[in-house]
Amino acid sequence: MKFLGKVFIFGLVIVGLMGIFNFVPQKVEADTANVTLSTSVLEYLSLSITSGSTISFGNLTPGTPICSNTATVVSVTTNAANGYTIGLSDGSDTNSAMHKNSVYIPDYAGTIATPTSWSGVGLGIGLWAADTNKETKYGTGTTVCDTNNKYAGIPSTVTAAHTVTGYRSGADTSSWSWKIDVPNTQETGTYSGTVTFTATAVLS
């Protein structure tokens, strides 16, 4: 009997305390929802000549080729998943871009398909360094005027001269060497001209 009394009194105390502290057990209430976001990032490509946009060969003596110690460095940034190509053109078939009025210096005989070690005359270009995949056809040179560089004449219409495959984050650069010589029949005087670099994203 005494025990039951104690239990009763203890119960009264608990109930009293709950009342004093207004203690009512509650669960945390929360709710969640998801938002699905989506976007399609479009192709982007930019090309810039970061150095060597002007090449000055200086005085040229026929039969004594000049290699420019200034390289043309081409920087391409693109988000293309399959990379890009760099094409070269000068708008002139057998002649190079360099002319004095209607007189032209010829293209170097090597082609972009098959560049050759320097031998002969004309204006030639070679790829001597690339961040990605320097093509072996341009020789084993590693400096701008390395004798192991191979050169090609520049075609009239845009022809792919360097191909970068796959997605690249950040700028991708390629470094180009210029070399020139003329036959001893080349008319004296000052020659100049423009060569165009074209970068094209590879979409598929």
């Binding site: 009512v24 509650q26 669960k27 945390v28 209430e29 929360a30 709710d31 969640t32 929802a33 998801n34 938002v35 699905t36 976001l37 989506s38 976007t39 399609s40 990032v41 479009l42 192709e43 982007y44 930019s46 940034t77 693109t78 988000n79 293309a80 998943a81 997605y167 690249r168 984050s169 950040g170 700028a171």
Partner: protein, 210 residues
């Protein structure tokens, strides 16, 4: 003999009086009252729903931010005496956002500003995925800027964190649904891999109990 008769009469009288008293007592019992104490504890409830569960930015050209075509209204109904908080998360670690390329590897980054200190979106400069609160029934926080529409240039944006962080607090008891309007923005660097990106962010409303 008279004495006996008197005694009997007295006895009958006493019994009669007792019967009358009992009848009165029974009658009084019919009018008795008592009380019943009723009680209940109304539990906290909370429900949330969105005006839309999708947010489509469309085609994105690097350097030209996209804001979608409309914001999302978040409706929260709760009986919590102290209101509720609204938080956001994407479950993605580091500086990456929920937006994942179909290659399942490449992500668009988070906007660099935090929810603690959202920042204006500088077109062409600010990159990543950002979220803003551009309207609220109850006390829109000043840190989200002075914009009032989903594409307002005066909105301020923050990256979406990996774990839930509070973007809005609605204090006090509210009858009916309380609405908060949010919007997103995205831009990328030129070398962000081209293609389709998608992903989910999670909104969580939590009742404030204390």
């Amino acid at each position: 003999m008279d004495f006996k008769i008197k005694k009997v009469f007295f006895g009958v009288l006493v019994v009669g009086v007792l019967l009358v008293l009992e009848m009165i007592k029974l009658s009084a019992a019919k009018a008795a009252t008592d009380t019943i104490t009723l009680s209940t504890d109304v539990q906290t409830s909370l429900a949330m729903y969105l005006s839309s569960n999708t947010y489509t930015f469309g085609n994105l050209t690097a350097g030209t931010p996209k804001k979608g075509s409309a914001g999302i209204d978040v409706y929260v109904t709760t009986n919590a005496s102290n209101g509720y908080t609204l938080s956001i998360s994407d479950g993605v670690a580091g500086s990456d956002s929920a937006l994942l390329h179909t290659d399942n590897t490449t992500r668009i980054p988070d906007a660099s500003a935090s929810i603690a200190a959202p920042a204006p979106w500088v077109s062409g400069t600010t990159k990543g995925l950002g979220v803003t609160v551009y309207a609220a029934d109850t006390t829109k926080e000043g840190k989200w800027g002075t914009g009032s529409t989903y594409d307002d240039v005066n909105n301020k944006y923050a990256g979406v964190p990996q774990t839930a962080d509070t973007i809005h607090t609605s204090a006090g008891y509210k009858t009916g649904a309380d609405t908060t309007s949010i919007a997103f923005i995205v831009d990328v660097n030129p070398d962000q891999k081209a293609g389709s990106y998608s992903g989910s962010v999670t909104l969580t409303a939590t009742a404030v109990l204390l």
